[in-house]
Symmetry: D2
Subunit: 343 residues, 4 copies
């Protein structure tokens, strides 16, 4: 069986999580997120964020988190704005629109949004009441293209949103990877200060399932639990989510796992760079998009699974490689060996 670099959710979960599930399996707990594990995990996250007043809810996956957050924040005539590469625009089967809200798409080369990207959208939506009202800025960190926000970028965006009465929502499906990128100068605390609402991804960082929605803006906290339940996201056995996040938050497991994934990707990246390979985007996280000749891609395909991401010309394409918390040295080394041999 070929090793897969297709995504970061191919394996199960970190062993600590399974261990904790085993140890706590038979005690009786309150349902629907009122169990001790969930309560503890929420405290752990708040402590790490230095945000005692934030509200936290656990849900199963990213699309679910996105649709619940956006539909609960917006009034019927309000919309979200997103980079064109945003997950909500491309990979969620219209989940946001299904809740009644438009998502305005903004073309940006690197998957990030800057105030200068958003200003024209605001300018073009002033024909009241004939157009939707932009009200929420959706960003992901790391982005769908593997890029990250630096502190200054997020500060500028946050300021801009406040000045323009926009909510800032960060999709953190890969927040661990974004914050532990070697070049990142952003911290979880700072992210919590600069966003109105966000989620920390578990699914792509060592959990079986689970994303932790963190609501920082007080106005968005009111009655939020109703939205979770109404969208079918309130697990009867909330302990499953609580136990996982409690384990991930112990010491720095969450960040250690992400850092490991990043490092494995960077090893491949550096090996490719030495050979003069170009990349679709300049990434420092667990996703890389090298541009390779079709011949090399074919050889790699015989040994590994990955997505051919984008055709560049008749001779070459960009591929996407993703590493995970569980990607060992062996497949990475084998990949590098082939690269060094074939390039």
């Amino acid at each position: 069986m070929k090793f897969s670099f297709k995504n970061d959710y191919s394996e199960g979960c970190h062993p600590n999580i399974l261990q904790a599930l085993l140890q706590n399996n038979t005690d009786q707990q309150a349902g629907y997120g009122e169990d001790e594990y969930s309560l503890k995990a929420k405290e752990q996250i708040k402590t790490k964020m230095n945000k005692a007043d934030s509200d936290i809810y656990f849900v199963s996956g990213g699309t679910q988190a996105n649709l619940i957050v956006i539909s609960s924040v917006l009034k019927p005539y309000q919309c979200a704005v997103s980079a064109a590469s945003g997950h909500i625009l491309n990979n969620e089967t219209g989940a946001i629109e299904a809740t009644g809200h438009k998502v305005l798409s903004i073309e940006t080369g690197d998957g990030k949004l800057r105030p200068s990207d958003i200003i024209p959208v605001l300018e073009n939506h002033k024909n009241v009441p004939h157009q939707v009202m932009p009200k929420l800025v959706y960003i992901s960190n790391s982005t769908e293209l593997g890029t990250i926000y630096q502190a200054k970028e997020l500060e500028e965006l946050s300021d801009f949103c406040k000045q323009n009465n926009l909510y800032l929502f960060m999709d953190g499906a890969r927040l661990g990877h974004g914050l532990t990128a070697e070049i990142s100068d952003l911290t979880l605390e700072r992210v919590a200060e600069l966003t109105d609402i966000l989620y920390l991804g578990g699914t792509k960082n060592g959990a079986l399932i689970g994303e932790a929605i963190v609501i920082n803006h007080p106005a968005l906290q009111e009655d939020f639990a109703f939205n979770i339940k109404q969208k079918g996201a309130l697990l009867a056995k909330g302990r499953l989510l609580g136990i996982q996040f409690s384990e991930l938050m112990k010491d720095d497991l969450y960040f250690d796992l992400a850092k490991h994934a990043n490092q494995q990707a960077m090893k491949i990246k550096h090996a490719l760079q030495k050979k003069g390979v170009q990349f679709l985007s300049d990434t420092h996280t667990n996703q890389i998009f090298p541009i390779l000749s079709n011949k090399v891609i074919e050889i790699l395909s015989e040994n590994f699974e990955f997505y051919v991401w984008k055709k560049i010309d008749d001779q070459s394409s960009a591929i996407r490689l993703i590493t995970s918390w569980n990607t060992g040295d062996d497949p990475v080394n084998r990949f590098i060996e082939i690269i060094e041999k074939e390039l």
Copy 2:
């Protein structure tokens, strides 16, 4: 800590499931339900149902299953009908209405629907196009009141639905309990023949999470996966659902667990009956609703957790006791002892 008879999702999951999660934790699998475990589990269910042509999808919980099924089956102007005690009417925060569909409520004493209950609703919805069009009959088995459908009842209802061009949808959150009730003459195969769409509940019968939606009617199968994804219910690590259902379907674990839960409830029921206690409804599953004096309820409350379900008069109320796959003999015996002493 008091033992809780509040519900059947207070504990974790059956040990076999945890064992399987451990054993299969690190192999790489395709995401989004295309993993081997999910594919195998689907085959196991089809075999048990003798329904090779049915389509099966796993989702996390009951509200999610209900809202996905109903919103995918109905056109915008069509509605569901449900017994007034139906879960979709009372305990899902308007999840069905949030997808745009009305649920018509029918008062019935025992939580079950018969053709004679539905006929007047059809009669009263003929003012085209000024009224919603009833199109789907929602039933649960066992019901929210612990009662069950017998084969003849389900056959009559199924015939009626076919004659009236209605889809029959069974919420099987507690289907195991319904089918293993000592008086039940219904089988899983027969249920599959008689319904258009249904789900088998895992959450309330020994899984951590998970319900298996089974689509029997060919017209309802088309493109169903889109609905799962759009509602945020498609888990990236579908293996979590596949592994669980594969374990539950091995031998007859699913039914053994339900039968056990039923038996524990029946022990208490019989002890209460011996003392002449009356019940709110005549149940043979893992839910019982004995009517007790306030004084006895108070004494029981000192030792156990349970819901006081309905005030009967100033002196007495009905309580709800639920047993689970994991309810041992000890709490049952202790409960019976108190009953025998106090009554």
Copy 3:
């Protein structure tokens, strides 16, 4: 052709309206409700209501007004409550649910809601977050059964709503008829003081189309125009609505028309009462529901159109008769003649 007592929208509109449409046909006006006629009509209504700070919007019909108001007021998990006879529950094809909101139905004999009707609903919806949150009380005046609210009743309901943090919304499709009923002690000013939002019906009181939504509660006024547009209710030629309401508000035309309709119904009512006929409800507006023998109903049917409303027993049924702003003396007298002859 038989004269029809089926409803109050069988004829066109009051001649003054057509005259105004003719006179103002060719002047150029701003679109989308910014025309002079609409602006003037809004001022006329505010003056009559003594509500300078209310916001007013004109839309085409009642279902449209109801769905726009309710969907704009409620958050996704909130619901409306209505008497079981409410138009939104029975005659709008699930229009409210289609916007995502449940409507809780309350059985009341006379189509009216009192605090005592609503209290149990609030009591039964405290299982947070598993149930919808009641947030808006929908009433109609006159009701779908022809009954009306008196000042004291509306005051008590308004107080109750304020105390319980509920919005009070009055469907005034037949508000003119309600306020001009001979026994009514309620005024338009008082209605405006006691409700958060309401609409004055034009369609059933002499206009071609048109309902005037009046928003009294400041929190509900924000950005309301977006909702009108998004639901497809913002007419390009808003002048059509403005001209009509401006004419209806001149002098007391709106109330004169409603009073006339009421009086014609009352003539028939009194003639029936003299003969000892019973009624389904005690009405003083333009709807009456006499209970007659099948034989008399058959004779009347040969001469008039009307709805047989409800079967009482094998020998008799209640019929519904509705008079309009344009119902002349001739059909009323002919109806009374038959009654006097046959009873």
Copy 4:
């Protein structure tokens, strides 16, 4: 008061319509579109279209028609595609998304869609079930940029849609103008043959309100009336719509009015062309977009109202001029005089 070239709905309606409303004002008619006038108008349209089997419904306005059609045609996970200039994308406050459906935007210079525009969208939406499924192609004729479809273009698009299992929906808010453009080789009959569903606009072509939805594809006809009612679009006094369309369809009034509007615009266009003025798009209908210097625009603004549509550079902008069924020779001549003097 300055004459306005801002739009084609500034005036009231054609005098024949008012005359008909006057003549038929007091006869009693069935409600909700079952009146004689509506029935007759539907037959007139079918005859003109040579489409005896089409179903026709009248609604008040364009946004309403668009949202009803699209939400009734699509399943929850399906989406519409539209040229980026499409009315549903820019001027309807997210009305389509509010019904749960995404609209994919395609950049095209002239507001028209060709198969070559749509193919890449289909190619990019094959990641089942993670993306919405394109299912309906939305076009307008004449377009929002004043351009039109020729027979060959519509035939190619229609063939393409059939081959790709897509529904073709034409927004005909200005269909009269599109078909009577002097260069048009398309007829109403041919449009009916080539589209699955469309609407003929009344509001922008001499009616007070009203669009006629024509459903050609049999599968889309089933139960359509429910959708009209549910969205609040079913007028109690349907006669208002029926009378208007019946008048517009008499002889060729509908086309005569559109042709007149086109001709008035073309007079201005030709005068501008003589002076060497460039246009944003090459139009032959009642919308023209000349590019003028800011100085000339200022002078024109002192005499006329119109929209400055798009800044071209610091010295010049494109303006939008729209003529209507009621635009007389006088304002057109005055406009031309200024042009001839100032250019």
